[in-house]
């Protein structure tokens, strides 16, 4: 009776098969949930910011609260120089948050539980931050790889280590989000399977675990989106204010 806990991560095609050259770009359930979460963000924030009333309704309150939350986060971690990138970080945070949260609804698909999605987001951020760094500092940005006060003998080794640690940023950023989402959803499925297989007599204990895990997963879904956004801010801060 217990279903395979990994079947929830299966990607399947919805509608006709579309092929461009060797690439399969058909519309899948993953694309569907990306579209759904983007649309939900658009609708909520359009409705929330339309009426600028002094006494805000719930949607307006939501929009304003999330604005101040992100704005404070950017101010704390990356300073005033990162102001122009507010729109990017805000949409990034909201996209990851909504994808995570939509995944918490039963029978939905969690887009962020696939490493390719999170890795593409992370690589996009990584390339963008590197370009920003080179635009702002020119080749002086390479000083990031040469810490001050290192003896000349050790310098080649240190530079290699610094380059590896710089290249590990997108990996750690994407693996963190992907692993947390996938582990959490698998665990919930496993406990759900225990409820079915233990039946009415013994199923209450795993059921209570399942309820507790749902709460934990909602916390993790929010926290991971927050961590994703805050690390983007930290990387942006490194690129904008060079201090090595």
């Amino acid at each position: 009776m217990a279903a395979n806990p990994m079947t929830q991560f299966e990607v399947y095609r919805i509608g006709p098969e579309i092929k461009v050259g060797a690439f399969d770009i058909s519309f899948t359930n993953a694309s569907l949930f990306m579209v759904v979460s983007s649309l939900a963000i658009l609708i909520i924030f359009n409705l929330g910011s339309k009426k600028n009333s002094l006494l805000p309704n719930k949607l307006q309150l939501l929009a304003e609260l999330s604005y101040t939350f992100i704005s404070k986060m950017i101010g704390d971690t990356a300073g005033t120089k990162a102001r122009p990138y507010f729109a990017f970080i805000f949409s990034l945070f909201m996209f990851v948050l909504f994808c995570n949260m939509f995944g918490m609804i039963p029978y939905t698909f969690t887009v962020t539980s696939h490493i390719i999605v999170t890795f593409m987001l992370a690589v996009f951020i990584f390339v963008g931050v590197t370009i920003i760094g080179f635009v702002k500092h020119g080749f002086g940005y390479l000083k990031l790889f040469v810490p001050s006060g290192v003896p000349a003998v050790l310098l080649p080794l240190i530079v290699i280590i610094e380059i590896i640690s710089y290249l590990s940023r997108p990996v750690s950023l994407s693996v963190r989000l992907f692993a947390n989402m996938m582990a959490g959803h698998t665990m919930m499925k496993v406990f759900g399977g225990f409820v079915i297989s233990l039946g009415v007599v013994g199923g209450w204990l795993p059921l209570s675990f399942s309820v507790a895990l749902t709460g934990l997963e909602i916390l993790v879904a929010f926290l991971q989106a927050y961590v994703f956004a805050i690390l983007t801010c930290i990387y942006l801060n490194d690129a904008l204010n060079l201090h090595h």
């Binding site: 971690t77 280590i161 590896i164 590990s168 750690s172 692993a179 961590v227 805050i230 690390l231």
Partner: protein, 91 residues
């Protein structure tokens, strides 16, 4: 101590408490963020180092040596990453 003096003192103490509360809250959320950061930082650097070693091995044809060297360099990079994150947490 006059009444006015007491009032100003009370106000100062309240402000201090408020500020402390705000700071504490702020630190708490970013600390959870840093804790999540630490866990994957070490692994990511090792993985990247090993992949670089693998690619260099393939291009130069020095089969096992560069992957071994870069694995350990990746471990060092990961440990340095973790130490840096921990230092940032203490700030």
């Amino acid at each position: 101590m006059s009444k006015d003096q007491f009032k100003t003192r009370l106000q100062i103490a309240k402000n201090k408490l408020l500020r402390k509360n705000l700071e504490g809250k702020n630190q708490n959320t970013s600390n959870i963020g840093s804790a999540f950061k630490l866990s994957t930082e070490l692994v990511a650097a090792v993985v990247v180092g090993t992949i670089i070693g693998f690619i260099l091995d393939k291009t130069f044809g020095t089969k096992p040596w560069l992957i071994i060297i870069f694995f350990f360099v990746g471990v060092i990079a990961g440990i340095i990453n973790v130490i840096r994150s921990a230092k940032n947490m203490q700030k």
